[in-house]
């Protein structure tokens, strides 16, 4: 038998853990190459969730020029790597943020900009905002300040680039590994029938990231309330009103 045949052709490069013994000696080299490329081509989702977004146009355009670091805005979550949470998140926005985050392909990174994402900031007593972002999503980098200057934003993004390159930025795995915890916090805020059209548990199985904390009482609640996905109906007039009255998922989206 040829020595080369023993080497597996396909390696799951992106989900390999550091302590796993690799049969292919080149796999670690590939891993590093992939991580280097990932850190140098980050697509940032174009979603202005709060007031910190006003410092992003200067950071993106000619004066501070984020694009020289390979960071570019991207319009759809399906093609984005970074989710920037720029400032306070109201409860209504947080639902959209979670849905957006779950739609993004892994590996994905969350950056919390402004003090409001850290502890509620100025709006610590507001009835309408979610205070601590990391209870709902795994956050990779926080950039504090109200609001952080473009230099601070770029410095934070550079920190993230370093983390990706060295393989430390793996917080996206924690969402799959501790899904029950995150879902529990989401259910506490949105009500126990909260659900998104994405299937995180199936994805966790696909990535091989199932742990003891992935499933639990909250995911059991989710499966109890979850309804089969219906085809989106762009219906008008009377029919639409009828559906709105019946469909509990419509209520969630408000």
């Amino acid at each position: 038998m040829n020595e080369l045949d023993k080497i597996p052709v396909r390696q799951e490069l992106s989900v390999a853990e550091g302590n796993v013994k690799r049969s292919n000696p080149l796999a670690n080299v590939f891993d590093e190459l992939v991580r280097f490329c990932q850190s140098r081509s980050m697509f940032m989702l174009h979603y202005c969730t709060g007031c910190g977004a006003i410092e992003l146009p200067p950071a993106m355009t000619s004066r501070f020029d984020m694009e020289r670091l390979g960071i570019q805005p991207m319009v759809t979550p399906r093609q984005a790597d970074i989710l920037l949470i720029t400032g306070y998140v109201s409860v209504k926005t947080l639902k959209r943020i979670i849905l957006t985050y779950e739609q993004m392909p892994s590996p994905k990174y969350v950056i919390g900009i402004c003090s409001c994402t850290v502890n509620g900031g100025m709006y610590w007593q507001s009835y309408a905002t979610a205070k601590v972002l990391k209870e709902y999503l795994p956050v990779d980098i926080y950039i504090a300040g109200c609001m952080p200057r473009p230099e601070a934003v770029i410095s934070g993004l550079r920190d993230l680039m370093g983390d990706i390159k060295s393989g430390r930025a793996d917080n996206w795995k924690r969402y799959f590994q501790n899904y029950d915890h995150y879902l529990g916090n989401q259910q506490k805020l949105f009500g126990e029938d909260w659900q998104t059209p994405t299937d995180i548990i199936a994805e966790a199985e696909h990535y091989g990231l199932m742990t003891d904390q992935t499933l639990g009482e909250h995911t059991a609640l989710l499966q109890k309330h979850q309804q089969p996905l219906e085809a989106l109906e762009f219906s008008l007039g009377e029919k639409r009103e009828k559906i709105q009255g019946e469909n509990p998922r419509e209520k969630n989206n408000e």
């Binding site: 202005c48 969730t49 000619s62 004066r63 109201s90 926005t93 100025m122 009835y127």
Partner: protein, 380 residues
Amino acid sequence: MRPENYEAIKQPPSNEFELNFGPNHPGIEGNYAFRVKLNGDEVLSARADAGYLHRGFEKLMEGRLWIQNIALVPRICVPDPVPMEVCYSLAIEELCGLEIPERAMWLRVMQLEMSRLAAHLFAFGGHAATTGMYTPMFWGVADRDLILDRFEELTGGRVYSIYNIPGGVRRDMPDGFLDRLGTLLDYLDSRLPDYDSLFFRNQVFIKRARDVGAMTQEQALKWGVTGPNLRATGLAFDVRRDDPYLVYDKIDFDIVTEPGGDALSRNLVRRAELKQSIRILRQIIKHLPSVKGAVRCPIPNPLAWNVPAGETYTRVESSKGELAYYVVSNGGDKPYRVHVRGPSSMHAVQVLEKLAVGSRLEDVAQIMFSLDACPPEVDR
């Protein structure tokens, strides 16, 4: 052959459909959404979906001291924060009967006009981006940043300055500030012809924006439109001239109007206001050194400040339109009620819903940017 009990299900016409436009959409300004009903790419009806940025400002302000709210108010409108501080401070001064020193008034007007310049540069840059022209956006943002540098020098903050407090301004300006501001104004003045040839007189823009989102003067008055959007329908109304506050009655400037009422006219009004703001700032640079004295009048201990009972309504002209505060005090150390009359809540909800009908889908973003609506101010 159909069965006897066959009944055709009535379906809506298949050429009509609904689209969610925003909140995660590059054509929308800030965190805001629309539900548009379309026939092809013609908009049949539009429904605004606001509330993504709601923080409950008016409730928050009832729970904080009068002076603490100064840090809160500029967050209501992010691109143009100074009028928020000034208007709130004016309300408290009116309730307390404070006479602020003249130098503070001039410093406030200087900031207001700098803020207007920055906001207009940002607004037309955004509008250019929605019509596919990214160069004016890059130029506008870069030139706005130079104004933010001057703000940082004067107040310590790039965007949120928190420089105006009840009784005046926090501190006097640094040495040589007016010279540097004059240099900046010369630079901005020299850029205006470039903007004209790149954007405002560009046939690409004119053909895209003419007759898009047009409204008549009667409609504008009925819908509560104010500011540059109202002046674009031909009515010369400006709070700075018609209900002068601070020292605007000592300053010489023109109220610019355009007859069209469409997206093009609204942008041309903003373009002319850039020129007027530069003119006002030049007069301030000339006049300010001759105004001597303190920049703030003595106020009681701000942590135990009981503002006399009463109610007041103050208004200023922000870059978006008429901004007003209705403040009620019951004699306590906190406001009893603060109501913010933000111009964008009219522009972004009721006006935009009506103007979008009959336009094409690609123009909805353009109409929103031409109205210069500011979503955080809509939701508050």
